[in-house]
Amino acid sequence: MTRWLLLILIATTAQAQTPLDGATRADWPHNGGQQSAWRYSALDQVNTSNVRGLAPAWLFQTGDYADNLQATPIVVDGVMYLISARAQVFALNAATGDVIWQYKYGEPRSGTPGTHADFILNRGVAVGGGKVIFGTKDSYLVALDQKTGREAWKVAVDDPRQCGCNLGAAPLIAGDKVIIGGNGGEIAHRGYLTAFHISNGRLAWRWYVIPGPGEKGNETWKGDSWKFGGGAPWMTGSFDADLNTVYWGTGNAASDFYDGDRSGDASKYPNLYTASIVALDADTGKLKWHYQEVPDDLWDFDSAYEVILMDRVVKGQPRRILAHMNKSGLTTVLDRVTGEHLGVFNVPEMSTWIAGVTEDGKLIGRKDPKPGTVVDVCPSSVGAKSSNAMAYSPQTGYLYIPTVETCNAISSTDLPPEEGKRYMNGGHPLKVAPGHSDASHIDAWDPVTGKRIWTVPYKYLLLSSMLATAGNLVFTGDPDGYFFALDARTGEKLWKFQTGAGNRGAAISYSVNGRQYVAETTGWQQGITGGFASNLFPDQSWRNGSTLVVFALPEATK
């Protein structure tokens, strides 16, 4: 089976409204560009006709060569805020790279070895309310004064020695609050989102992915399994200010590859609200609605990724929708006001973990891993796509999706949980999908029709985020070190530049004094998914590093 495409679009009453504008302009104020996670810049000074002239304007080396530079930079009023893997934070003049202030987080408290507390990475800061806010390896949320870089407040979201978790994602600003999710999907841990008041760091609310006893949804867990059932929402969500709603994708159920303790029957024990998209009231953290993409997940198929909010005409009616890709590559379109399911399409070419999906999103013919057997499924637990984000261009109406084609042979174990310790229960050796000489492709998809518009192959694993711009360009980088631009309409490669180290981060675009810049974070990561990728291609040696490369058109030609 190579592809299924089942999309039903139900027309309902149209609502008159100003369409949501998720484009960035001079600033790049949030992790996903705007809080709707488009990763799209309305700047078009750099465009398909002149992109070949793009050249480095300045570089910034963080000096923190721990492993990688993955963070999406934030730009506000000509100042760039950048965090390194070990939480050194820099405020830079976004036109020159000159340092305005810098801050270095101290040595984090050690966590339990063999857990997420080992991971050395940081995916970005959030800027809002006069603060620069980030999570740490030892599960603190820290707010710096935006003008001086001095610590304003710091709060322990959890204890890494107990939870085995950490904070790697960029926080999300939602009004006067900052919301942070955490790692811990592979740990005997109960995931949650926590919101704090930006002004003083005080707790606003906490929402547990797994409902406790007496709460609706707790009955979807066997016995006490809700206590350690995972679901950690380890990436960054979205915010619709008009609806005062926060949207977040949640992590996989734990243990990853064995469900005997928690389910054993996806219809009876779907393990809510893991592997789901949830809509929460931004003020209270109360659940408004949910949509579970993978009930009783057994393949490590998180839903923790970007939730792209957009307003589109669907069957002749303007609707407020969202598009969201599960790690399996199943991509769901929902009405973001009601949670109504509008359609689903499958992005990877090789999918064998299920036989298919119904029009309303139900999984058919699951290949469940079981102890004592080896179950070979595609995609692998590395995902059709994981933490690197797609982009959405309102100009073309397409999603730009970096897609990986790998499979894994899952062998499960049935070890019991121990709080804060690894709770994965299985091995999952990886291979490139059979019949695929190229392990990745970049695709353009129309989320409303569910059709793939174009695809461009790439030999190794693409693990960088995408950037789309109004210059009809799509930017991303590869492990070989090339940062490149494609034509957003056709996928034609228009420009590339060797940055000197593997690209595993996120590009942004912004402008200062009328000059458009495109910035890419570089430095491969030999751990986690980057390590899987490296070990798949042992003859390659993708380089670590921690350098931001900023491009612009030469002054004379712009």
Binding site: P113, G114, D118, V155
Partner: protein, 256 residues
């Protein structure tokens, strides 16, 4: 379930210098520790590569393995397994990885040491410990503010004096909690430092405590706050605080 690989059985038979029973037991234990700690997102099963490098058949000697396991690899995701794991488990996993590198009779070290790692808590003390760190209470648990035996957030100073009973625990005096005013708002605060430039304190208004750094000119430090320890432990019933005190006593007795 995983079965012990045949090579391990072979090694067990060949290891003449060690009691075969000990070696087989340790390697089996080491394999279990490996499966629970080293596989998953890092090293693959039986030392195959995962996201982290392959560990089998690399020609590692045991001293090298021991060094990497205990010290980690700085600048990478490989941590130092020098805490959060018992000496016996660490020695067992080192022996197991040694076996994956063809070392026929690995040194077993602490893996067969006769001294128990730590006395296992039982009964009320075990229940008390679990209640102290009880994650289902979210920020209402004791460890939101107290670190004991390296676990918990060290907001308060280490617990020096164990309250005599539950009533005393609830009524605990907190003379260090002062009323602090910032920008016209009063709050209960535990002050960590007062310098000419800035004041650093924990705002205890709501759990979890917030460590704040405020310019000295913006802070007014007042008298004792009406904040009470009883409010911080309100989620606990008397019947739950009692075993926590039993654990404190048992833990203190074990150290002395």
């Amino acid at each position: 379930m995983n079965r012990l690989p045949k090579t391990l059985l072979l090694i067990t038979l060949l290891a003449g210098l060690l009691p075969a029973q000990d070696l087989a037991t340790v390697l089996k234990k080491g394999q279990a520790v490996y499966a629970a700690t080293c596989t998953g997102y890092c090293h693959g099963e039986s030392g195959a590569a995962g996201s982290a490098p392959r560990l089998s058949g690399r020609g590692f000697d045991q001293a090298y393995i021991t060094g990497v396991v205990t010290r980690g690899v700085p600048g990478t995701s490989m941590p130092a397994f020098n805490s959060g794991i018992s000496a016996a488990d660490r020695a067992a996993v080192i022996a197991y990885v040694a076996s994956l590198n063809g070392i026929v009779s690995p040194s077993l070290g602490a893996a067969v040491s006769s001294t128990p790692a730590t006395a296992k808590l039982t009964g009320e003390a075990a229940r008390g410990r679990a209640l102290f760190y009880d994650a289902t209470r979210s920020f209402g648990r004791c460890s939101t503010c107290h670190e004991v035996d390296g676990v918990g957030i060290p907001v308060a100073a280490p617990i020096a004096k164990i309250p005599a009973d539950v009533a005393a625990l609830r009524a605990l005096a907190t003379p260090n909690v002062l009323n602090v005013t910032v920008a016209g708002e009063s709050m209960p605060a535990l002050i960590l430092s007062r310098k000419a430039q800035s004041v650093v304190f924990y705002d205890l208004t709501v759990a979890p405590p917030v460590l704040r750094t405020v310019a000295a000119s913006d802070v007014r430090i007042g008298e004792a706050s009406p904040w009470r320890h009883a409010s911080a432990i309100a989620s606990y019933k008397d019947s739950e605080l009692s075993p926590i005190l039993v654990w404190f006593q048992a833990s203190r007795a074990a150290k002395n």
